[in-house]
Symmetry: C2
Subunit: 368 residues, 2 copies
């Protein structure tokens, strides 16, 4: 026995038994063995016992490749995101994995680095792998021909954190949450409130110079929704909008984020509060203020979107609007499997995951 197993290890090819082997061992046809395993059709007790025994003796495990070849389903879904090592995406991935496990599926993750070409390659690849569905955080809300190709092939798609027309999407209630957060600042007496957000490489330049109102209609991205909430809060309070207090920094140029904060504080009538619309900006803003010993919230209040590990470790602790990436991932996977299950013909449904406002110590009332 030990001799034999050594030999197997040596050759490295202890070929997995197939259904044919099981059938042979049980002395029945492949069809009968399959019926026993699949639990359909008729099988005599005799045959059930023999097949079951053979399965046990051989340690048979069905080949899922062959199965998906036949069935057209793969029990694999794809997750396409900018960067799986990012805290938001890896938490979402975990949520997706947990739901997938429940559904007997596995998850293939692919990174786009926010590049359209990589996203196109990824979707093509996953399609040729016959994934049962796709959760994607699209690079662009405009160029989505490759995503339409996926749905066109009958493969369900759910968009995460972005909204695409005709595609089910799962997003945080960015606009309402931001509006509430800004209202809170206004309630504390702040009238000069800066908005600092990130913008992607592929984004239309119009956005970069602050013409936010131009793209209010149509598909949505978090940064857009958030600035919309910001604008609504200001206008509801009858406060003027100062273009110089709104900045979008290209995401791939981190050093520019510090510049943006600096520029903001150098405006003649500087803001008394900073709203940072994503975790990168929050980090950069805190880092800048702390580096220069600018007191928070003494001189400037700071309020961020998205919670991170360090926001309770630094002093002051940062007040933030929290969105749960894990919950969003779960919600997206739930929608996806609903579609895969067939009930979800309803395309374009929008699922909003609630956010929470965590009041900590980085916001203070304005001194008159």
């Amino acid at each position: 026995m030990s001799r034999e197993s050594e030999l197997i290890v040596a050759t490295g090819s202890a070929k997995r038994p197939s259904l044919k082997d099981v059938a042979a061992r049980a002395g029945v046809s492949r069809a009968s063995a399959s019926r026993v395993l699949g639990g359909y059709g008729y099988s005599s007790q005799e045959i059930v016992d023999r097949v079951t025994a053979a399965v046990r003796e051989l340690g048979y495990e069905p080949d899922r490749v062959a199965r998906s070849m036949r069935s057209g389903k793969s029990d694999v879904i794809g997750f396409v995101c900018a960067d799986i090592s990012d805290a938001f995406f890896s938490s979402a991935m975990r949520g997706i994995c947990d739901v997938a496990l429940r559904e007997g599926s596995q998850v293939i993750a692919m990174n786009t680095d926010d590049r359209l070409a990589q996203e196109q390659d990824a979707t093509r690849m996953l399609l040729s792998r016959k994934v049962d569905g796709l959760v994607i955080t699209p690079v662009s809300v405009r160029d989505h021909a490759h995503i339409d190709a996926v749905t066109g092939a009958g493969v369900p798609v759910v968009s995460l954190d972005r909204q695409l027309s005709g595609i089910d999407s799962v997003v945080a209630d960015n606009e309402a949450a931001t509006e509430a957060a800004i209202r809170h600042l206004i309630g504390q007496g702040h009238e000069r409130i800066a908005f600092l957000g990130s913008v992607q490489r592929e984004e239309p330049p119009a956005l970069r110079i602050g013409k936010v109102r131009a793209s209010v209609a149509g598909p949505s991205r978090p940064s857009l929704d958030r600035v919309r909430g910001y604008l609504r809060a200001l206008s509801a309070a009858g406060l003027p909008v100062d273009r110089r207090l709104i900045a979008f920094v290209p995401q791939d140029e981190p050093e520019h984020r510090l510049d943006a904060v600096a520029a903001m504080l150098a405006v003649e009538e500087p803001p008394s509060a900073l709203f940072t619309a994503d975790s990168y900006m929050t980090r950069s803003a805190f880092s800048f203020l702390s580096e220069r010993d600018i007191p928070i919230p003494g001189q400037v209040s700071l309020l961020g979107f998205d919670d991170l590990e360090w926001t309770t470790l630094v002093r002051p602790r940062i007040s933030v609007v929290v969105q749960s990436a894990y919950d969003m991932g779960r919600a997206a996977a739930d929608r996806l499997f609903a579609q895969i299950g067939g009930s979800g013909a309803a395309q374009g449904r929008r699922t909003v995951v609630p956010t929470r406002f965590l009041e900590r110590e980085s916001v203070a009332a304005v001194r008159r």
Copy 2:
């Protein structure tokens, strides 16, 4: 034309063209079409052109499921870790994905939550999916029958961050790096240095009470290697080992970490420096000290293993030993593909990824 495409979208089943369709359109046999695509055998220019045209017109993309059915390879590798949302694992995942992409493969990630049963399920699942290889951070260095089953089936395995006998592994130079770090503390005059580490659920209880020397031989885990480095540094400096200054906290009981720090500082001759052997402990220790306004490094110096985003955001900035999870992931995937390529019959090879010591502000010389 538009009518037709609408119809296809409506039915939602624009079935992907197969090689048979390409062959039919080109007016050749499947074999000829396959030869053209596969670039083997003989093909007349005539046929090459016709097939190429047909491929383009139909937008043909080979079905990778069928391909792997035939070839036995799937161009998919698995990554089995405790929790993909953990910063270490998601960075490693990114490294693995990048290498996989280069090799034309994709990555399926699965979570074990540090539970052996889940790890066993995961490996079985991935095996039945015919993955070409597996990167795994094993829950246990003792119970690895399921991992041997994978290698036994001829599927290459690389162990990440843990060392298993007979399996290629990729680890940081935990022992040497820790030894150097402790030497640095000793060089600053510290003689009472605490070691705070985490230990897993599945770990033998012997470890939990601090009998670290008992398991020095055999397979390795980071926490063990690190405490070994700690002991070596002390003994090299002729300093006594005080059991009360060594603590291992079960990883699934975070609140106990704070207790461990408290207990450490309550020892009659308390430590002047804390070495926290992983990011969880570092976080807890910093949190505890900062909460109690215990000055760092005035009263206690803090030195951690593993870098994190917040270590430069807090004051003082934390000095740490950095290991690059991304590099470790890359290295593991490199080893894996070397094995898959066939050259890697050499089992049990150990790849050590270098660490760096980042001196910041949380360590000070001891006052006499």
